[in-house]
Symmetry: C2
Subunit: 221 residues, 2 copies
Amino acid sequence: MGTEHTVRSFDEEIARLRGLIAEMGGLAELSAQEAVHALIHRNLELADAVVMRDKKLDALEAEVDRLAVRVIALRAPMADDLREVVAALKIAGMLERIGDYAKNIAKRVERIEVSKAFEPLTLLPAMAEVATDMVHDVMTAYAARDAALALDVIERDAKVDAFYNSIFRNLVSHMIENPSTISSAAQLLFITRNLERIGDHATNVAEMVHFAALGTYPVEE
Amino acid sequence: MGTEHTVRSFDEEIARLRGLIAEMGGLAELSAQEAVHALIHRNLELADAVVMRDKKLDALEAEVDRLAVRVIALRAPMADDLREVVAALKIAGMLERIGDYAKNIAKRVERIEVSKAFEPLTLLPAMAEVATDMVHDVMTAYAARDAALALDVIERDAKVDAFYNSIFRNLVSHMIENPSTISSAAQLLFITRNLERIGDHATNVAEMVHFAALGTYPVEE
């Protein structure tokens, strides 16, 4: 009857879709980590590598879109399967944006002229670690369909926001006291904001993971 | 046979989907305009109205998502129709983000303490006009399935980027010369960046309009 073949093929396509999403998540996390590493260690070569990697993320998102549309068109999935495909479409867009924010951080590295001792730089790696851990863990939650881990990721976003507010105040004080660093500090304002947005998008992915796993969005507090 | 009823219903659902997108586009454009108006005229009440409107945009996006999923699940649309539904899903996300940027601008209004004569403020309305016109025209392109107008919108993004670079430089110079305005100027840096992102997202919508109309993305230059 060919039914078995059709079923296996559908599962294969879903597995391929999930594999592409996992690949995107891994690259987005790596880019965010490397962008901040390049900033702290003034490594322009690494910053360039992050900028180049963004094209790969764009290509993967386009592949997810094409495959998702094909699965929907040819298979007309119902209920859970459809939710899975719609979640893949949305998560791909969110991961591509996390890559965008990492690229934006990397592009600013060469515009910054401050020493490693520049105080706000000492807080950024800690903020980056919380944000990139959120990206890492939300991909684990996605792979394991773990709604509890997704909720845990969502809760951690408050920590990223607190870092953002603290570094923002620190940078503005620093600018007032050291006008010669204003241009670099302005770049750091944007970098801090980009990290804060990476946390936001990891949160958005977590909400979609929750939706894909349980069919409901987490209740807003 | 019920076929005619099914066909009419499907068209009705697509029309409803397009209507929701048009409503989102109108609200997003209005929010962007009003946020900048509130900034220039220090109108905190208007800024609050923009912040509140964001919930409406979130609700509309959720409605688009639900309806799109239902259309796909129940109708299993093919080719052009499927492209239309997928474009609606993606465009809803982009418009919701334009609303987010407008909300972010509005939230910063009360944190800014400068006079109307503050020089960078004189450039912002011109930048905002280009960006909000892009939002307006891309929605016209969407309604009319006008790929040529979508391309025109995409081309205008360079103008928004030029404004961004010019205002950024202007703000940094201003901070160096007037340390007492640094905190407000830092807020304006973010506001300028938000307008630049609104232009980016109008461009993203334009690419999806092109895709929905012709089945291909505009060629990258």
